[in-house]
């Protein structure tokens, strides 16, 4: 009887110039197998030029319950956006 192999999260770079993006996950006995499985499962149609796999247990994630504390402070700082500032039309494109 084997165990459930570790879960790996799969990230794929669609083409050079783009960042890797989460595609899904695979189970694998080791890192090399995880890469092979990710290739078979997530890139059957030229979806990628590069694959990252990382053990799911290694990912540190924020807790949805903390999302107010983490993200709300940014909400009222609208002066961080360019649209906050009124520039006369005569100035031209800025």
């Amino acid at each position: 009887m084997t165990t459930d192999w570790p879960l790996y999260e799969v990230f794929i770079r669609a083409k050079s110039g783009l960042s890797h993006r989460h595609a899904g996950s695979v189970h694998a006995a080791d890192d090399e197998m995880a890469l092979n499985h990710a290739r078979d499962v997530y890139t059957r149609r030229n979806e990628g030029v590069s694959i990252w796999v990382v053990r799911s247990s290694e990912i540190v994630a924020s807790d949805p319950q903390d999302s107010a504390a983490l993200f709300e402070p940014a909400k009222d700082k609208i002066y961080r956006h360019p649209t906050f500032y009124e520039i006369p039309e005569d100035v031209g494109n800025m």
């Binding site: 084997t2 165990t3 459930d4 192999w5 879960l7 899904g24 996950s25 695979v26 189970h27 006995a29 080791d30 197998m33 078979d40 499962v41 997530y42 059957r44 149609r45 994630a61 807790d63 949805p64």
Partner: protein, 330 residues
């Protein structure tokens, strides 16, 4: 490929004494109503979690078992082109099963448990795969009809409220269109061929039409979990709505092929623009679901044998990984 009637197997114990407050449930429903996606670590009602685990796991099992009827023709495809295509399609089904197992795992069930439930017969899969593929034309009919019905079912699932399921379905739907088109192309070739070939295509249509209609599950009056799944936006259209859409889309395609639908009651209703169709034999549906279809036993036997025959590979891979890890640590 294939969800169908996957809300069929639910236990009636879903409203057990869950310690969920009315406020929590209302806040959750508000998020769903606002079309917010629910993500794995978010709070969700336990019945929502159970419903999704059941539906996604059954969907995944259907993809895995669905490799068998088509796999039957891999070594007998008529040309190398057809063989390459069929191989790619069967690989896709395996891939779809894996995307879906991954999505289900985000809800807290393990892969091993899902596989164990399939092998023990506790979990169900789509009943369409309990029909045999008797001729090459069946491969055409499956792509055209079974994948066509699956697409009708699956496109709304791309907007399912549960994020990982919706994202898996986007990927599945992108690949599914190829499946339907290759099937229709097989039917076209046969229908443009000899009388015997056209007869073969007609025979396949005769046998697959009604089971394909059953894939949408029982009529709305009989469908037990539909209302709740709709409220949770797991489901977007009722079984009957999707079935009607499928019929309306498929009848003209059959006409183009020059084939007859095996339904004497099929008739275009000019007023509504929809096709009326005959009574579905629901007894057959429930019989197949209960395990008495033509191939239920064979499908499970093959799946269990695949699991058993692959055991040594899994054990070897695990032993190798452990050895490598030990060496690195030393």
């Amino acid at each position: 490929m294939y969800t169908q009637s996957l809300d069929q197997q639910g236990s009636k114990t879903e409203h057990a004494a869950d310690a969920e407050t009315a406020e929590q449930l209302a806040a959750f429903q508000k998020r769903v109503d606002a079309e917010e996606k629910i993500e794995p670590k978010d709070w969700m009602p336990s019945a929502y979690r159970r419903t999704l685990i059941r539906q996604i796991a059954q969907h995944a099992h259907s993809e895995i078992i669905g490799m068998q009827p088509e796999g039957n023709w891999l070594t007998r495809a008529p040309t190398l082109r057809r063989k390459s295509i069929l191989l790619a399609k069967v690989q896709d089904e395996a891939g779809h099963g894996l995307y879906l197992y991954s999505a289900a795992e985000t809800l807290g069930i393990s892969r091993q448990q899902m596989v164990a439930e399939l092998l023990s017969g506790k979990a169900k899969y789509s009943s369409i795969f309990n029909y045999p593929t008797l001729s090459w034309a069946d491969i055409g009919a499956i792509g055209w009809l079974v994948d066509g019905a699956a697409i009708m079912n699956q496109i709304p699932l791309c907007r399912c409220s549960y994020g990982p399921y919706a994202r898996a379905m986007v990927r599945v739907c992108k690949e599914e269109s190829f499946h339907q088109r290759q099937g229709y192309e097989i039917m076209l070739d046969l229908c443009r061929g000899s009388d015997a070939q056209k007869e073969m295509a007609q025979d396949a249509l005769n046998r697959w039409w009604w089971p394909s209609l059953m894939m949408f599950g029982p009529g709305d009056a009989e469908s037990t979990h539909s209302a709740q799944s709709m409220a949770w936006k797991i489901k977007r259209f009722s079984n009957d709505e999707l079935r009607q859409k499928f019929v309306d889309a498929t009848v003209p395609q059959a006409e183009f092929l020059g084939l007859r639908m095996p339904d004497d009651d099929l008739k275009l209703d000019e007023a509504s623009g929809h096709y009326n169709f005959g009574e579905i034999n629901w007894q057959e549906f429930y019989d197949v679901l209960a395990g008495n279809g033509p191939c239920n036993k064979q499908r499970m036997r093959v799946r269990r044998a695949a699991q058993d025959n692959g055991a040594w590979v899994r054990e070897a891979a695990e032993a190798y990984a452990q050895k490598q890890a030990a060496r690195e640590a030393a």
